[in-house]
Every structure is written in structure tokens, then in C-alpha cells.
Point group: C2
Chain length 104, copies 2
């Protein structure tokens, strides 16, 4: 069971990307920090970043490849990986990958 994130303000309207292969909900911490909680379903996708992002895996796992790298790396539940701002990463998912996206 994943730990709940306490005292957040949740936007009930989801973000739907790639025809629903990625669905997330935005939320805001008490201090105003914005994050999102989402899931990526089996697919290989490319995401672009504006702000730098940290992808924290809360359940499932993925493989990812940063724009700066030719190597696929695995990220498991409890692990995170960082993506620079104004960059991109590929992500390869074979079972639902549940994440929290931290910005900045």
C-alpha cells in the first residue's frame, strides 16, 4: 500500500496524455509546491520537459532513457530519476508505472 500524501489540494480534472497512456492528477502541497500523481500504461512514450522534473516511482516500474544517454535504465518502486529542464526522455512501460512528478 502506498503512503497517502497529506494535506494536499487536488485538482479533480485529470491530465490525459497520449490517448490515455498517461493519466495524472495535479495537486498542490500546503506550501504551494505543485506536483502530479499519475500512471503510465504499457507503452513507449517520449516526454518533453519545461521545468526540471523528478519522477518518483510509487508502484510498478519503468525503463527510461534520458536525451543525454543511449542507455535504458530501470526505475523501481521507491526509486526516482531526474530529468533536466527543456529536455526530453523516453519511457518504456510493460505494466502500470505509478509515479509522483516533482517539478523544479
Amino acid at each position: 500500500m502506498t503512503s497517502p500524501l497529506s494535506n494536499v489540494a487536488l485538482d479533480p480534472k485529470a491530465n490525459v496524455y497520449f490517448d490515455g497512456k498517461c493519466v495524472s492528477h495535479n495537486f498542490t502541497l500546503a506550501d504551494g509546491t505543485k506536483k502530479s500523481a499519475g500512471v503510465i500504461l504499457p507503452a513507449t512514450l517520449t516526454f518533453n520537459t519545461g521545468a526540471p522534473e523528478i519522477m518518483e516511482c510509487v508502484a510498478g516500474w519503468c525503463e527510461y532513457k534520458l536525451a543525454s544517454s543511449d542507455a535504458w535504465q530501470r526505475s523501481n518502486a521507491g526509486e526516482s530519476f531526474s530529468i533536466p529542464g527543456n529536455s526530453a526522455f523516453d519511457i518504456r512501460v510493460t505494466e502500470p508505472y505509478h509515479y509522483i512528478c516533482h517539478f523544479g
Copy 2:
């Protein structure tokens, strides 16, 4: 823009139903009430209820048919419909239907 739901505890692990045609996140209000925020993507689906449910549309729209009825009815943003416990309903969606599910 939808109104955020304040001071909730959010479970960052999504619920994925029907191969991702329905994705939701559970959250708990300060008083312990459990709800979920979700989205249904274009599909016609049948859901079964345990507890009674109220489906509140926060964006998009759907058509639904209760087990007790032969009539499809429309539910738009800002509207809700109720489903009895231990029952079922069909839902028909042609654009993302964003909802809050209230239980009991």
C-alpha cells in the same frame, strides 16, 4: 478550471480499470470520508457498485443508464447522478469524462 479539493490525503497509486479506459486516484477528506477523482476515456463500460455512489461530473460529459432503467441520460459538468448500492450502471463516453465519485 476546476476547483481544487482542499486538505485531502491523496493516494498516489492510481486505480486502473478496463485496460485504462477508467483511471482514478483515491483521496480522503479531513473528516475521513473517502472519494475518488477519475476520468473515463471514450468507451462504453459497465460498472458494478458495492456501496451507493454519486458520480459528479467536473469536466466533459457522459451518458449513463442505470440498471433499473432502459433510458440513457446525459450528465454534464456540474451535474451528478446517483447509483444504488449493489447495482450497476452503463456509461457511454465520447470525450474524456472527469468525475468525482462520492460513496455512501
